[in-house]
Amino acid sequence: MQKLMIRFSIISILSLVFTSCAVKTVKDFDKMEVTSQVYKTPYFSDKNEDYIYKASISVYGNDFGGIFIVKKTNETTHRAVFTTEFGNTLFDFEISGNDFKVNHIIEELDRKILINTLKRDFMLLLKEDFKVAEQYENENFKVYKSPDSKRFNYLFINKSDSKFSKLVHATKSKEKINIEYLSENNTLADKIVIQHKNIKLRIELNKITN
């Protein structure tokens, strides 16, 4: 009897822990069979394309803008550059898989915490291949869950038009970063919003057609 009580208590404590902490991202979704091992994101995958965006950044109530430029320079590498409207380069990063190189950053922005934040954002934004570990579904979305060291990325695909519309970067219990995409043609993202959950940082990117 005592054994049973203990077992019951353990189960209830555990279930309490799990239900209160589990990330809400795919709550109420149905878990499905994994249909493909890898999901390839389309939005920064064309080497011939210059990806140019007008950027608006809002950080703790301060707004500033600039031009955000991405170029896929080879199969595994992206250049990500941010300039002012006048054309002065503020930072210039090179991202290749898990490698991250700072080609240039102006002194005023050369802060470890800032660089690390941008590094995570851009790595998420520019990552093309996501290993699918679990798959979920509801009425509107198919969701691929992909491990990312100790964290996870949830990729939301619209069921109606197969467009990749959202990425949620989360720990086991909390959403950290949301990236939302608006795309007309499913190959270019016309608008991207990167929203942080634990710091007051929002980056909005609007595609510029030259």
């Binding site: 011939n48 210059d50 140019i52 007008k54 608006s56 707004d63 500033f64 803008g65 031009i67 430029i69 170029k71 320079t73 250049r79 550059v81 300039t83 409207e85 006048f86 054309g87 002065n88 380069t89 210039d92 240039h104 102006i106 002194e107 609007n206 510029i208 057609t209 030259n210």
Partner: protein, 211 residues
């Protein structure tokens, strides 16, 4: 085949040669005459409005990034720089302050205690009215072509050097005003701005410089 190569080499050396030949160093007498003419024009310029096209060149891109808009300047130091295409963005320099309107989102920066902003402001206003012959700030060299007088400015200030490797101002010979600006960054990427439809001393309402 052999002839083709010979022809290409000849053609290439000819175009290189003519490329160099087009830009000549000014003689000392020409420099002082040019400076006087520009200063006289700048002195008589109370207002300046112009359209501009800007192209940002970065080596790794397949195409330059083109933007365009309007610029208004009123002495002594009110400047509005307004991008219209492909996005709406304006920046106003007035009374030691910078006012930004980013597609309706307004923002002010007090540059009172920022030396860097002050230098950039001077650089921008100077690029527009040509008042950039400050030997304390720049090492300046002077060139001429058929259509332009050209000044090339190398910043002396260590902080400014990190942003700007060289500024090149192209003055059209007829009006002695700036018609082209090239700002070269330390990476050798550059921004080129070409002014078109310039109007000098046309009436500009002060309200243009309100955000």
């Amino acid at each position: 085949m052999k002839n083709n190569i010979l022809f290409s080499v000849l053609f290439l050396s000819f175009s290189l040669f003519s490329g160099f030949a087009q830009e000549q160093k000014m003689a000392d007498s020409e420099i002082s005459a040019f400076k006087n003419a520009v200063n006289a024009t700048a002195k008589n310029t109370k207002t300046l409005t112009t359209d501009f096209t800007q192209s940002k060149h970065m080596d790794f891109l397949s195409k330059d990034i083109e933007t365009s808009g309007k610029m208004n300047f009123k002495t002594p130091n009110m400047l509005q720089w307004q991008y219209v295409k492909p996005y709406q963005y304006s920046i106003i320099f007035k009374n030691n302050k910078i006012f930004i309107n980013d597609a309706g989102k307004k923002n002010n920066i007090d540059k009172g205690n920022s030396k860097m902003f002050d230098k950039l402001n001077k650089l921008i206003v100077g690029s527009v009215n040509g008042n950039m012959f400050d030997e304390n700030e720049f090492t300046i060299s002077y060139f001429k072509t058929k259509d332009f007088n050209i000044t090339k400015l190398l910043p002396k200030d260590a902080a400014l050097k990190k942003y700007v490797k060289q500024m090149e101002l192209y003055f059209d010979k007829t009006g002695n005003t700036v018609s082209q600006v090239k700002m070269i960054e330390p990476s050798n990427d550059y921004t080129k701005i070409i002014f078109k439809n310039k109007a000098i001393n046309a009436k500009i309402d002060d309200s243009v410089f309100n955000n």
